[in-house]
């Protein structure tokens, strides 16, 4: 379908819509009332079909709005469906989660922060706010007393995940469960998983987030447009180039600003360097989880020169703070160009070696192939993005589908693998490093002289969306302005928000020993496996995290023994 056919297809449902706007070729805004929302969403997701990105809840003056963002990847079109809920006292809307499991989390989140009821939602437990947050206080409503309001009061009585230790648990569990989290010594952030097991097989998985919820969307409403870029680079330290870029692109779209050409080159180079260091980081951690600590150490050693380059360009190893509305803050000095090219040559050789060592290893084949499979159908239903989607045969990549910065002019390939297992995801990430090296080389060689920023005076009223292919997938930002100097609503969707719920599809039916690597395979921004106790009710055996890691490593050792190989030798590297 080309853009015109898509426009015609969307008009099939126009009797249910109240407005259709198309500010640019590949940006469409539709509007409808709450009672038609379910039918329109079903049409967009199932009949067109579009990829679900995220939903945004907004407290407007006279009503609530829920914005459903969709993408049509063939033409890079972003379609936003605005639904108005007129009843402010009892805001209610039909849930779309029954046919779109990828929307389950975001509806729970909107309920938490805005108090909108979703009818027929399968699981309306608290998601984003703390267990002791009082019921009925909605932080993103405009009548909340500002971002720093920290209400006390009766804690919520809504059921939440059983996070207590077995000794303090008030409700007995019907089945044996494994509690995973919320702390882990090697993974970065807090996250709590509960695996229900039958012997060795995982039969269900449940998750609790909120440990890391800092209320960035609300803080953003109290900062000026220029300051928000620094805030969003701290959404995630590893995607600290992608988040500000997506935000800045949203504001540039809103204000109609076009950054100068050199700025696009600088943005591309920094974003690709970020992708390289993030993918190498993942390879290292994945190696650690299955007992290949040599891979861990070598990968992280190769990652260091990339961080040094980033430090030399932007002044910091992470949190670059380099992108601003209208361009960039720091330039890449021309005398640094030979050094970048030299480092890329060195890195390519080392990565070549590492990739061969990983991909040719029979133990890794046996250990990772067919493990944690996320089928193509599930990948679409859960609306996953990035290497998680590309490893399942869904070849989407924002850099190609809706080119930003310089990506439209570069020569590179989208890597995808059809199998959907952990091995496929590893292959995608490893091969993407080479594509990134290729892109950086082209960009560095062709970078033109000129200014790196244009002056931006005012941000007019309006709205804009920006999306960027972060290392983990599509980062999406929606910004709405009323003509003042602060955004009135700023929605952020990090790729892990849609990738993490897909564990329900990929972990169920797996062995416990395979769970650590399956959880790690989507490179979640918050995966945690520490303080982990495996409780088997039949035998009362309690394992801890170390035991689980040991299980995972023992399995690797067992396979290695059966295959009769010695693992990676130093001379292979």
């Amino acid at each position: 379908m080309n853009q015109e056919e898509l426009n015609n297809k969307l008009l099939e449902i126009k009797d249910k819509l109240t407005a259709v706007e198309q500010p640019a070729d590949n940006r469409i805004y539709l509007a409808c009332e709450a009672e038609n929302a379910y039918a329109v969403n079903k049409f967009l997701f199932e009949d067109v079909p579009l990829r679900f990105v995220i939903a945004t809840g907004i407290d407007s003056d006279d009503c609530f709005e829920v914005l459903y963002h969709y993408a049509y990847d063939e033409t890079g079109c972003m379609i936003t469906l605005k639904v108005f809920i007129r009843d402010r006292e009892n805001p209610t809307i039909e849930s779309i989660a029954p046919f779109l499991p990828g929307a389950e989390w975001i509806e729970r989140e909107i309920h938490d922060i805005l108090g909108i009821e979703f009818k027929n939602h399968p699981d309306m437990r608290r998601l984003i706010l703390a267990d002791d947050w009082p019921e009925g206080v909605y932080p993103l409503r405009k009548d909340a007393k500002g971002p720093a309001e920290r209400p006390d009061g009766e804690p919520s009585t809504r059921p939440t995940i059983q996070t207590q230790s077995p000794a303090r648990r008030t409700v007995p569990l019907a089945k044996p469960v494994i509690a995973v989290g919320p702390f882990h010594p090697l993974q970065e952030e807090m996250e709590f998983f509960q695996l229900t097991v039958d012997g060795e097989i995982v039969t269900d998985i449940d998750m609790r987030i909120s440990y890391n919820h800092r209320g960035i969307e609300k803080i953003s409403e109290s900062l000026q447009f220029d300051q928000v870029a620094f805030l969003v680079s701290r959404v995630c330290g590893i995607c600290s180039a992608s988040h500000p870029l997506a935000y800045v692109q949203a504001v540039e779209e809103l204000a109609g600003v076009k950054p100068p050409e050199r700025a696009l080159y600088v943005r591309t180079i920094i974003n690709e360097l970020e992708r390289i260091h993030s993918h190498i980081l993942w390879v290292g951690l994945a190696g650690h989880f299955i007992g290949y600590d040599t891979v861990f150490m070598w990968a992280w050693k190769y990652r260091e020169p990339v961080l040094d380059l980033l430090e030399e360009i932007t002044g910091n190893r992470n949190n670059y703070g380099n992108v601003k509305v209208g361009g960039c803050r720091e330039d890449i000095p021309n005398e640094l160009k030979p050094k970048i090219l030299k480092e890329m040559d060195k890195l390519e050789k080392k990565m070549d070696m590492l990739t061969k060592a990983v991909l040719d290893d029979p133990v890794l084949h046996a250990r990772l192939k067919g493990v944690g499979v996320l089928s193509k159908e599930d990948a679409i239903k859960y609306a996953v993005t990035g290497p998680t989607a590309r490893g399942s045969g869904v070849a989407i990549d924002v850099r190609r589908d809706d080119p930003y910065a310089l990506y439209g002019d570069l020569d590179w390939n989208v890597i995808s693998q059809p199998q959907g297992d952990v091995f496929a995801k590893a292959v995608v990430r490893l091969l993407e490093v080479f594509e990134s090296i290729k892109m950086i080389r082209q960009a560095v060689k062709r970078i033109p002289d000129g200014p790196i920023a244009v002056e931006v005076k005012e941000i007019p009223p309006g709205e804009g969306v920006g999306h960027v292919e972060a290392p983990r997938g599509e980062t999406f930002h929606y910004v709405r302005s009323d003509g003042g100097n602060r955004p009135v609503r700023h929605k952020i969707r990090a790729p892990s928000f849609v990738n993490v719920p897909s564990f329900r599809a990929s972990c169920i039916g797996e062995h416990i020993a395979d769970v650590t690597i399956t959880l790690a395979a989507v490179d979640p921004c918050y995966s945690c496996t520490e303080r982990l106790a495996v409780v088997d009710q039949h035998s009362n055996v309690i394992h801890d995290y170390e035991a689980l890691l040991r299980l995972s490593r023992d399995k690797t050792a067992q396979i290695r023994k059966e295959l009769g190989t010695q693992g990676i030798k130093m001379e292979d590297l």
């Binding site: 703390a130 909120s210 330290g237 992280w300 050693k301 949190n319």
Partner: protein
């Protein structure tokens, strides 16, 4: 110097607690273990349980959901235990000061249960690995 402090300074085992960080400080902490920085040469080792830890490396602002867990982790450590507030957020909540889900910097939460806790601060966003090593060495040398 008591033998406890002496032994703690020789090879501090550390436990890493993320209470709402953006991953940056955490990744830099993991970086400390890898070949370029390699803190194991000082006897510093990352351990998997707070009960084995001589020091806590706490990163990030303390969010409402994380505060009780941080207190619990601190209770589980064997004393004396040095708490390192790693990064601007942990030291003084940094850019997230006005967040509704943020209950305070690390020292405030720890002092609620132990007013005499030993707390060291390593500022930066994120602190460079060299700064982290320097902070740990400085704190241990004044014990």
């Amino acid at each position: 110097m008591s033998w406890k402090i002496w032994s703690l300074k020789k090879s501090p085992w550390v436990f890493h607690v993320n209470t709402g960080a953006c991953n940056n400080c955490d990744i830099e902490i993991v970086n400390l273990l890898t070949p370029k920085f390699d803190v194991e040469r000082f006897g510093i080792k990352l351990v998997g349980s707070p009960r084995h830890a001589d020091a806590l490396l706490v990163t990030g602002v303390v969010t409402r959901q994380a505060a009780p867990r941080l207190r619990e982790v601190y209770r589980q450590t064997s004393k004396p235990c040095v708490v390192f507030a790693m990064g601007a957020c942990a030291c003084d909540t940094g850019i997230f000061r006005s967040g509704y889900h943020v209950v305070g910097p690390v020292d405030k939460i720890i002092r609620e249960i132990d007013p005499n806790a030993i707390i060291a601060y390593v500022p930066g966003c994120p602190p460079k690995p060299e700064a982290m090593i320097s902070g740990i060495v400085k704190a241990l040398s004044i014990l």
